[in-house]
Symmetry: C2
Subunit: 350 residues, 2 copies
């Protein structure tokens, strides 16, 4: 938690009377109103939110992408990020995976009685900065408080709406044998950042979460008229689950070159130490794109123009063999089936 | 919980292996996929959801109303409803309060490890029925699982999107002195249904929650060209908080006739017994409408055509005196200020 200066965060005056969240902050009365007026409104400041109606009114037209996710990550503050920015970027990215431009976001908090207001303040400020970076407006929200011992500090549910530009058609059903699979960067960073904190692993340099907004990369790929067939971000379940979902929905096989998949040295070491497969570890700022073979080189070059895409690379291709299955060529030249894990490798990773 | 026949609910085959929720059900692997495929998909069945992308793609245009709410009600099953239908109707109603026709919904679950799958099944089926009754499609969702002791069975966050018909302008800034305040039915039912279970109060007949979808009533009011200025549903904080919010946002005063507000006898008795003000108790299937004086009689008559509006009545009016304040004429002819409560009267009421 050393990245966060909780002392620097100044609690707005009316909230100072109770430095911790109490049940009344979720009760719909004056304490709720103070939280909204002095914490959420100044941070998320925009016209739609400031109306404070039962619902926000926004303008949007055409095909909309809608996505929701609850965030329960533990610890709430981790190397490279916190639950607040994770909640914003996670939903921005899910919306982007339809080829949509994320526009609006709804945020709902479930707070546990006793949470320091100061900690909530730091989280909310992170969310505001994340929303600004991604270019989305947080237009409506809700806060509930549960009694001590029936929650875990902060749970955040974000729901995002994006607009899909005309002419854009993205989905696994469009994947054809021969399409190239591009990965936007290294895998395993987020999961191992969380895990190394939980397990108290010490490395020369800490492993940082890769939580980041991917929408600007996707928008640029599409603006450059890259023939993008399908997009997906390998969060829970990691690269392995994502490739399997793509193979199963598209009824093609996916063949990847194991050694082409970029993995940071520290992540690789941590995975080995803990007996984990980096292909199954969660990411929060990466995506897999299936693109037409003829556009693959250009797509990689476009992505490498972004700091968030500097390690983008072709990792494999769609094939007509083994439909629905993902196969990896290993470093020693053999082949292995890349399967989805059964249960949970890392609980509460996001 | 006697209304719910948990024994009758048949657990789909692949879920029978673990009759309780385990961490893996939120892990993004095969257990997560089984929950989606065998529980959520069959219940919420629709085209957008069945794509199972990172986001759902829907069509909508114009002014959209967006609302989100987390539901943490305790107990999860209460006389007259459960957390599932409450989560659907609560958001449907918030969307409707902008004059919008609710269309799409996103649902996110935070489950506690150990929750019986059977109980989740009953909740999900209730949600499906509620969505059908309200005419909304549940198009996307998420499930997270938290370790035992860090949640409380089921928390549900719903986010709704509705389309505001052309020409409809609803908001507290449109309230003018002389407008009539209409209440769609009795107050205090939901809060006292929850409270009577928690406190083990026995009455001749149980107090039932009023959880219900209000969108068809609102749509009909607007179709009948009633000049509706503002709408709000008196949930947390009750009628008192809602009238105060309307008065404060509109800068008019609101004067109500205390004895005009319909309250069921059992609710009134329970409130008296527990020392509660029924004006501050939560409702889940009622709304307050401020309408042009000339349309008030017709509005009441339209509402009374619905079972959900059979007790609709004019309870007061907007006045130019005491702007921002709500005043009630009492039964004995005096006046009192109706204030918003400070904290939480009834924790975890929704």
């Amino acid at each position: 938690m050393s990245d966060y200066d909780f002392e620097q965060w100044t609690c707005p005056i009316p909230l100072r009377d109770s430095p911790h969240v109490v049940l009344g902050h979720g009760g719909g009365g004056k304490l709720s109103a103070e939280l909204v007026e002095h914490l959420f409104l100044p941070a998320f400041n925009n016209q739609a939110l400031s109306q404070l109606g039962d619902s926000a009114v926004v303008e949007a037209s055409g095909r909309l992408a809608l996505s929701t996710d609850s965030f329960v990550v533990q610890p709430r503050f981790f190397p490279g990020g916190n639950i607040g920015e994770l909640a914003v970027y996670g939903t921005v990215n899910d919306v982007s995976m339809s080829g949509a431009v994320p526009k609006f976001m709804a945020v709902s908090f479930i707070l546990e009685e006793g949470l320091p207001i100061r900690e909530l303040g730091v989280i909310v400020e992170s969310m505001a900065r994340a929303a600004e970076r991604a270019g989305v407006a947080i237009v409506t929200g809700d806060t509930k408080v549960v009694d001590k011992g029936h929650g875990d500090g902060v749970f955040i549910t974000t729901t995002g709406i994006g607009v899909i530009p005309e002419g854009i058609e993205i989905g696994p059903d469009r994947i054809r044998p021969g399409d190239k699979a591009i990965l936007s960067g290294t895998v395993g960073d987020h999961g191992m950042a969380i895990m190394s904190v939980r397990e108290g692993l010490g490395f020369e340099a800490p492993i940082l979460s890769d939580t980041a907004p991917l929408n600007h990369l996707i928008e640029t790929l599409l603006a450059e008229r890259i023939e993008v067939r399908a997009l997906r971000d390998p969060t829970r379940g990691g690269l392995a689950a994502t490739l399997n979902e793509l193979a199963q929905s598209s009824r093609v096989g996916i063949l990847i070159d194991e050694k082409a998949v970029p993995i940071r040295r520290a992540v690789d070491s941590a995975c080995e130490m803990l007996g984990m497969d980096p292909f199954q570890v969660a990411n929060e700022g990466k995506f897999v794109a299936l693109v037409a073979s003829s556009d693959a080189e250009k797509a990689v070059s476009v992505l490498r123009g972004f700091e968030l895409g500097e390690n983008a690379v072709v990792i494999g291709e769609a094939v007509s063999e083994h439909p629905g299955m993902v196969v990896a060529k290993t470093a020693i030249g053999s082949s292995r089936v890349v399967d989805t894990q059964v249960g949970e490798q890392l609980p509460r990773i996001c």
